[in-house]
């Protein structure tokens, strides 16, 4: 009876397995329910599930041209982000997929137009040339003329992006039109190009998924540069990413790992047992620091490593509850704080735009439910996630390498299209 070990409760793995047999609607709602029930949680799992569902959208939903596909992806993406408003990576993946579709569509179109007019409609770097070319190809009149009334009625793909590019005034409005394209502007041949586009986009999404699964390894690749022999590394609530990072470093460097857990974990000292075992195998000494007492170790610590749920555009991060406290303590002792985060966790939002980064979780993380008087007499607020201000973080290590705060903007521009920056609002 081997299958019994797996249990019945749904999780990411089971969800992915059911995807094939289910209708798109069922998959979407299934994921939404899992997100709401926190049976899929954590940035990586959420990102992966989102990518898979969006893949289904591309493969299964009805669309005949790029605009419909974009609308479909946006619609499903908006529902997913709404289901878990604090998992910002979901929005990121949706933006990535949207950008991918736009890229592929423009490539198609370029091929159709013999590549004569434009190369990339909406890449931030190629803003100026694309604006000019897009206008000439897309609208009837030559020359840039970004006046609202003329553009919005025939809201085609090209004119939309153009409008966005030239007037940043009200990008949301240009997308509100649900009307299908009139056909005057987008010269996409319906079927053959649609299937080609579909397979291109699906390939692209699979690449994104590859990126997700490789991110941890790539980040770990920078471990030996960052961790020096003899270092004392404080890792706050290490995730899989941090775990790989430390283990990789341990294979080359001799250092001391301090593992701090914020909440009094129900598992007690057994928490992070596998990590400790791996580190011990590599000859690295580990110290388990229980809740709150890490400040005593800070004078000895050489670096603090924080895993991020999401990295915001201004450099603030959303991390496990208690991380801000660690970061602040590190600042007091002038110890560098390093954030490990895949590029997919990098969000175009600023910390002021994130409505409520603090998620309150299960109160029993701090007070056992068996303690009747406490349950009745005390209001417990246990933050699952919280915002660590940008100035407390010194360095970000993504799968692309180590970055400073100022560099984040460039990475953002590389990965997201301007049209999609405001995605969840649409």
């Amino acid at each position: 009876m081997a299958p019994l070990l797996a249990g019945y409760a749904p999780n990411l793995e089971k969800f992915l397995k059911t995807l094939k047999g289910q209708s798109l609607e069922a998959s979407t709602e299934g994921l939404i329910a899992l997100l709401k029930r926190r049976q899929i949680r954590g940035a990586e799992a959420c990102a992966f599930a989102t990518a898979r569902v969006l893949l289904q959208v591309v493969a299964k939903s009805k669309w005949t041209d790029v605009d419909q596909l974009l609308a479909n992806v946006q619609k499903v993406g908006a529902r997913l982000t709404h289901a878990a408003p604090r998992e910002l990576v979901i929005g990121n993946i949706v933006r990535r997929v949207l950008g991918l579709i736009r890229d592929e569509a423009s490539e198609e179109r370029n091929a159709d137009n013999e590549g004569s007019l434009m190369d990339s409609v909406s890449d931030l770097q190629t803003l100026q040339p694309s604006a000019a070319t897009a206008t000439s190809s897309g609208s009837q009149r030559p020359g840039p003329n970004p006046i609202k009334p003329t553009l919005t009625p025939a809201a085609s793909f090209v004119s939309k992006s153009l409008f966005n590019l030239l007037s940043v005034v009200d990008p949301a409005e240009s997308f509100t039109t649900g009307s299908p394209v009139t056909g005057s502007s987008t010269p996409i041949q319906q079927n053959s190009s649609a299937t080609a586009l579909k397979s291109e986009v699906i390939d692209g999404i699979e690449e994104i998924m590859d990126e997700l699964s490789q991110a941890d390894d790539q980040i770990a690749g920078f471990a030996d540069v960052q961790i020096h022999p003899g270092d004392h590394i404080l890792a706050y609530q290490p995730t899989a990413t941090v775990e790989k990072f430390l283990v990789r470093a341990a294979s080359k460097r001799h250092f001391t790992a301090l593992i701090a857990s914020g909440t009094p974990s129900p598992k007690g000292p057994e928490a992070y047992a596998s990590l400790k075992k791996k580190l011990a195998a590599a000859g690295v000494r580990t110290v388990h620091v229980m809740s709150g007492s890490y400040a005593a170790y800070l004078p000895k610590v050489s670096k603090v490593i924080l895993p991020a749920h999401a990295v915001l555009a201004n450099g603030a991060i959303i991390a496990d509850g208690g991380a801000a406290c660690v970061a602040r303590a590190a600042r007091e002792y002038s110890k560098p704080v390093i954030v490990l985060s895949g590029v997919y966790k990098l969000c175009p939002e600023n910390s002021s735009e994130v409505e409520d980064p603090i998620e309150l979780g299960d109160s029993s993380a701090y007070v056992p439910f068996t303690d009747g008087p406490l349950v009745d007499g005390v209001d417990v607020e246990s933050a699952v996630s919280e915002l660590v201000p940008a100035d407390l973080v010194d360095m970000y290590i993504t799968n692309l390498g180590p970055h400073t705060r100022d560099h984040l903007d460039d990475i953002l521009a590389d990965h997201y299209k301007v049209e999609d920056i405001d995605f969840p609002l649409q």
């Binding site: 009876m1 081997a2 299958p3 019994l4 070990l5 249990g7 019945y8 409760a9 749904p10 089971k14 397995k17 059911t18 094939k20 047999g21 289910q22 209708s23 609607e25 069922a26 979407t28 709602e29 299934g30 329910a33 709401k36 029930r37 926190r38 049976q39 709404h82 289901a83 129900p266 409520d356 998620e359 309150l360 979780g361 299960d362 109160s363 029993s364 056992p368 439910f369 068996t370 303690d371 009747g372 008087p373 349950v375 009745d376 209001d379 417990v380 607020e381 246990s382």
Partner: protein, 753 residues
């Protein structure tokens, strides 16, 4: 559509495990669940008159949503919902209108969800026996109630259950329990305390029993077999959330015992007690992570609502928006608000939930409360610890403390709703009204039998709507079957929002009795028994809640100080009297058998048996004196039935001098009681006693030594004049005996000479 969907679900299941398991395991792989959506109780009255319990809102979400979510969370595939005919329609309509749960809905997490109606069901037991007949259950299934709020993961318990079941087919059930610590806990059920006797090494459940503060005897009877286990724990610190993992055998057990009604008090207790007969094992899974509780009464409703506000039920909290279409957001101070909520800038609100488009006027303060959709709350209103359902209007300057206000309630200006008030659907309170505090008001537009109530202006004010809610004593439906066999009815403890023994609807004279009860620790059994006995019997019988148990007890206490065997005494005397009176047969063997059975069942002592026999024969003799003269009556009473004398000799007396004296004393006592009860004339009593003793002497039941021992016993003259009068009548007999003795001895002496 539904069948297609079902096929898909099954297909998904196959896809998952097909590679690993054979054909049989595939079927195993589909987890089934049965929801009991009807409780056959009226603990939620008057609210449950309007809506079935499982649709009442708990933190603005119908309770059944939590239950379904729990099942979905645990990967259940097929769901059966049992409802009694009275409220199936509403529940079914609710599910049908929910695009998420509807059977065959594309987005339903279940492959099928079926309603089963049982029109003549009167208890949960009827549901499960019906389920057994239908043969819908193929493998392990989860049995839950429609008022469950839980986020525990059953995977571990299911795996353990499965492993145990494979090891032994008789391991048929696993009960999920949440530990709640030894201290007082708001989420433990008050009133009825479940006690589980568990073997810690195997988690096997050995015994189950319920106690409540109103019962006379605060003790558990453990089967001596339990003591043979190396170790066992008696746990009363558990929250019984009503989740059972069952094999189909459980349904067969239900069918075998047609009189079981409740899954715990009847079924669990019964099956464990009869373990030697049925050979079934039941296990417990005591979880200490996660949340699980049943909103089985208003106090639990209150507790679970607070737990939701305190986020102990996470992720089942309003801002997870698990119900389709909800969009609650967490804001500051633990306040969850829906879209369209308007809170005046200078209103204060903490630890609360505000439903869709509700508004809160300026200067108002709300704390620890849950407010439903489209409620209008005026200015300077104060709401604390209250549950306000949808579309309630509360006008300015009103104060509401720890109450439940159902849909469409209106409360006028400057009213005060004190703690514990329950305002049912559509009730309107006129401005300036203060509702009573002790007992707290239960106001409804309907009476217990469903008929409309006439508005009570003295309660709800001029132009108010609603009257004090009375349960209809006659209506059987909805009666709380759980507690029927208790002498005192603990369900009365469960109907109020606030658990309190003072809040009982009992006359003041008997409160003192109850107070002694509850002030002592439960292990001080003795003192409680004494407290009950010392209570003036006439007073305790006036208590509205007390029934047979107290009656028999007070009658008995004059006669015996052994209250434990009160039930035995009554039953035994009635049984013996019936067979003594019987005209058609003159055989006493049946009665003897029945008596011995009763004795074993109650574990009655020798002395209580003696008393019971003496009383029954004395009663019979007293009855016969109405037509016959005393001597003849005594003879008929003793000799009419074959074997009666033998029965008295063996069972009733069964001993030497001391026992014989006891029996004679018991006869005397019984006759005196008859005299006091006016069924026998005082003069005749003595004659009857003398005749009885003489008959017994002549049939060698009593010997002279025994009778003389009684005659010389101080107790025979104690207890008033009557005893002495009755005893005096036997002087002749005794003197005759003494003389005979002397003669005998003198004869002996003469012989010796």
């Amino acid at each position: 559509m539904s069948s297609k969907q079902g096929g898909k679900g099954a297909g998904a299941g196959k896809g998952k495990k097909g590679a690993k398991g054979g054909a049989e395991e595939k079927r195993d792989d589909i987890l089934q669940a049965v929801i009991i959506a009807d409780s056959f109780q009226d603990r939620y009255a008057p609210f449950s008159l309007e809506k079935p319990r499982c649709l009442l809102p708990l933190a603005n979400t119908p309770m059944i949503e939590y239950t379904l979510e729990f099942l979905a969370m645990n990967g259940v595939q097929e769901v059966f919902i049992y409802c009694s005919s009275a409220n199936t329609d509403e529940v079914e309509a609710y599910i049908y209108n929910s695009s998420r749960w509807r059977n065959g809905s594309k987005i339903s997490p279940f492959s099928s969800l079926e309603f089963i109606r049982v029109s003549d069901a009167r208890s949960i037991g009827d549901f499960l026996r019906d389920l057994d007949k239908r043969a819908l259950i193929s493998s392990d299934f989860i049995l839950v109630h429609g008022d469950l709020v839980a986020n525990v993961s059953l995977d571990a318990a299911l795996a353990k259950h499965r492993a145990r079941r494979e090891a032994n087919r008789e391991n048929c059930m696993t009960v999920i329990l949440r530990s709640a610590g030894e201290d007082d806990h708001r989420t433990k059920t008050h009133g009825i305390t479940p006690h589980f006797v568990v073997e810690p090494s195997t988690t096997r459940c050995l015994h189950y029993e319920e106690t409540h503060p109103l019962q006379a005897d605060h003790y558990l009877t453990l089967d001596p077999d339990i003591l043979e286990h190396k170790e066992f724990e008696i746990r009363s610190d558990l929250i019984d959330c009503g989740i059972d993992i069952c094999t189909p055998d459980v349904l067969a057990l239900w069918s075998e015992s047609f009189d079981y009604e409740l899954p715990r008090k009847n079924f669990l207790h019964g099956v464990l007690k009869d373990h030697e007969l049925n050979g079934k094992f039941i296990y417990t899974e005591i979880v200490d992570q996660g949340y699980a509780a049943r909103a089985s009464n208003l106090q639990m409703y209150d507790a679970i609502s607070k737990d939701i506000l305190g986020r102990w039920t996470y992720p089942l909290v309003p801002d997870s928006n698990l119900v389709l279409g909800n969009s609650y957001k967490m804001t500051k101070n633990g306040v969850c608000v829906e879209n369209g909520v308007v809170i005046a800038p200078n209103a204060t609100i903490t630890e609360s939930v505000l439903g869709h488009r509700s508004s809160l006027g300026s200067g108002s303060s709300v704390s620890n409360s849950i407010i439903g959709d489209r409620c209008k709350i005026g200015k300077n209103v104060r709401i604390e610890n209250s549950y306000i359902w949808d579309e309630v209007v509360i006008e300015d300057d009103t104060q509401i403390y720890h109450s439940v206000l159902a849909d469409a309630v209106r409360v006028g200006k400057k009213s005060i709703i004190p703690e514990g008030s329950l305002l049912s659907y559509g009730v309107s309170i006129a401005p300036g009204t203060q509702l009573p505090t002790d007992p707290a008001a239960r106001i409804s537009l309907k009476q217990g039998d469903g008929s409309p109530a006439t508005d009570d202006a003295s309660l709800v004010g001029e132009n108010g709507k609603g009257a004090d809610f009375h349960e209809s004593a006659s209506s059987d439906y909805d009666s709380d079957s759980e507690d029927e066999d208790f002498g005192t009815d603990p369900s009365s403890l469960q109907k109020s929002l606030i658990y309190s023994l003072e809040g009982l609807n009992i006359s003041t004279s008997s409160i003192s009795t109850l107070a002694t009860h509850t002030s002592v620790d439960s292990d001080e059994v003795e003192s409680q028994v004494n407290a009950l006995q010392n209570a003036d019997p006439t007073k305790s019988t006036t208590a509205t809640a007390s029934r047979n148990r107290l009656d028999s007890l007070s009658a008995f206490s004059a006669f015996s100080d052994d209250s434990m065997t009160g039930a035995f005494h009554t039953d035994a005397v009635n049984g013996l009297l019936d067979s003594l009176r019987a005209e058609d047969t003159d055989d006493f063997d049946g009665a003897k058998l029945e008596f011995m059975g009763l004795r074993l069942a109650n574990n009655a002592s020798d002395s209580s048996m003696r008393k019971a026999i003496a009383v029954s024969f004395a009663k019979r003799a007293a009855e016969l004196t109405s037509t016959l003269d005393p001597a003849k009556a005594a003879q008929r009473a003793l000799l009419d039935k074959k074997g009666a004398i033998k029965f008295i000799r063996e069972v009733g007396v069964g001993g030497k001098e001391a026992e014989q004296a006891e029996f004679a004393l018991a006869l005397q006592n019984a006759l005196v009681t008859q005299v006091m009860g006016k069924t026998l004339e005082a003069g005749k009593a003595g004659t009857v006693l003398a005749a009885l003793l003489q008959q017994l002497y002549s049939h060698d039941v009593l010997e002279e030594d025994g009778i003389l021992a009684w005659w010389n016993d101080g107790r025979a003259v104690e207890g008033g004049e009557l005893m002495a009068t009755v005893r005096d009548k036997c002087r002749v007999l005794v003197e005759w005996l003494e003389n005979a003795d002397e003669e005998e001895s003198s004869e002996e002496e003469s012989d010796d000479e």
